[in-house]
Symmetry: C2
């Protein structure tokens, strides 16, 4: 009897330990090894501790643990051009044989001559014309295949790395750490939603349904092979600046408790996450300060940096806070 | 030594049993007790078995197990009017004191006189005018509160039940069964996305980020109390008919492997789920055949029923297939 009791008790204890281990040992040791000790790493760890501790005044139930991340400049690099622009330029070059008229029509003619400065002298309108030509007129399935093929092989003109190798190791750790603590992680980017979705699950662990981005209108059509959604040359939504809270509301329907950005386009998302909200919130800007390992620039981020200081948002100093930048270049 | 081994072994076995129990005993006994035995119940069980069995030619990995559900007439009743229309009418009546001009302006005047036939004689335009007046001009947070207050107390004019009591018990079981088998369940409804989100998690277990619906445009504004999203009197998206695959693509970014609807508005969603797709797919229409316990009607569902027969989609006969309709009226 006693022996049976002991055996059963040991079994129960071990079973409970196993169950606990599945919960608490998801993050053995330091969950953010690529982050140097300092106020920003501490702010992340403190925030997660506060919102996940039952009984804490800042406790947030699991379903409300929403974290949103900008992509360009926050999860991966964005220089010398947004990486999606390289895709657009490569597509225009690949499509040129079917468009002889582009040889004499701007901004296409300049792109085909390799004169980017000339191509972009037309400003936003030139970029929109290139984006429409390169990214609409096909089905969503065909477009996804184009993106997959390109992202698997295209390389950054300065580093020679695959673009997906130029994601930030510290941010990958942060995504994983938040998810291990019950957060749902979303990307909220000014980039194209259908440009990101084919690879965000593999690279960031973020599934398509948790990607919010800019979009073109699509139209349902039945073909002999089944239905398709055709991408129309008409912008449906611009997920930038004031558009980010709009996109967050449309796709998520809850306000985030943590948000991460790097530029003026992220200001409203960080406001929407923190201003006038009760309880602990985390808003963080990645400041590009590392010309040796990545890039150093403030252009396009000045207002965000100013507002971050005024509102007490955290500013990550890449040079000081991160001991690794890219996953493939570990220290 | 031997005793220790035995203890450890017993512990291990029990721990493994516990771990397995958490996985496999999520559905003890019949997972669909409100469904009568028959081809439709069998079709559901067979489909789930096929797509969840590793090594099956129809196996679908967990991240791709997407199931989409229409709401009106599929998850809850929709007669004598879509339930959201009752909300709109109640809002118009509540707002009338602030709008003396409505006393003489149609369709408002007829609504305030209780003459619904007169109010809706203006067709879709009349409904749109009422919907805009009742549902825009406030912040998304204020609108959510209005919905919450209304749904907690408003009652169906014929049954006297709360509207959220008029959800279908067999469909609640189906939602739970699919989720227990690794599916992510989404609502894809022609109804207002922000009309549904305040209560879908509590009633259906579907969180706000898994609700797709029709929407008005919103605009980001900073107030002294913090930022708000104001609901503008401009339709952003109609999530019906051809709009359903568009909405599914915009919000989910994957094609469903199972879809459930009841009317002509669901045809394209069921096509998008099944036509030209490889592997097991489940498409199901709820046919309202039970005048005694719910409603019996074909109007607005004729084309869907016809296409279901042609394409081999399952047609649920409420009267024959369901032994319970509403959760509060168990057999």
């Amino acid at each position: 009897m006693l022996k049976l009791h002991r055996t059963a008790l040991t079994a129960l204890v071990l079973a409970l330990l196993l169950a606990c281990a599945q919960l608490s040992l998801a993050q053995p040791g330091d969950p953010l090894p690529s982050w140097n000790d300092g106020p920003n790493k501490t702010a992340i760890l403190d925030f997660v501790h506060k919102v996940t501790r039952e009984g804490s005044p800042d406790f947030v139930p699991v379903p409300e643990r929403i974290a949103t991340f900008d992509n360009d400049g926050t999860l991966w690099a964005e220089k010398p051009l947004y990486f999606q622009v390289f895709f657009i330029l490569d597509r225009v070059k690949a499509m040129a044989p079917q468009h002889p008229e582009w040889q004499t029509r701007e901004p296409f003619a300049s792109v085909l001559k390799g004169d980017l400065k000339g191509a972009f002298s037309g400003g936003d309108q030139a970029l929109v014309a290139l984006a429409l030509a390169a990214q609409t007129g096909m089905s969503t399935a065909d477009f996804a295949r184009e993106v997959q093929d390109w992202i698997a092989t295209a390389r950054h003109p300065q580093t020679g790395m695959l673009f997906t190798e130029m994601v930030y190791q510290p941010m990958l750790e942060l995504l994983g750490y938040l998810r291990a603590n019950g957060f749902k992680t979303f990307i909220v980017s000014g980039g194209g939603i259908e440009f990101m979705r084919p690879w965000t699950e593999r690279v960031y662990g973020v599934p398509p349904e948790q990607v919010v981005g800019s979009s073109f209108q699509t139209q349902y059509e039945m073909t002999p092979d089944g239905p398709v959604l055709m991408r129309l040359p008409k912008i449906a939504f611009v997920d930038d600046r004031e558009g980010k809270p709009v996109g967050i509301n449309a796709h998520i329907g809850r306000r985030p408790v943590a948000a991460f950005g790097n530029s003026d386009g992220d200001i409203q998302m960080l406001e929407w996450t923190t201003v006038g909200q009760k309880g602990a919130r985390l808003a963080m800007l990645v400041h590009h300060t590392d010309a040796a390992r990545e890039y150093a620039y403030d252009k396009g981020t000045e207002k965000a940096l100013k507002e971050a200081t005024a509102r007490g948002w955290n500013i990550v100093d890449m040079k000081d806070d991160w001991n690794v930048i890219y996953p493939s270049v570990k220290k």
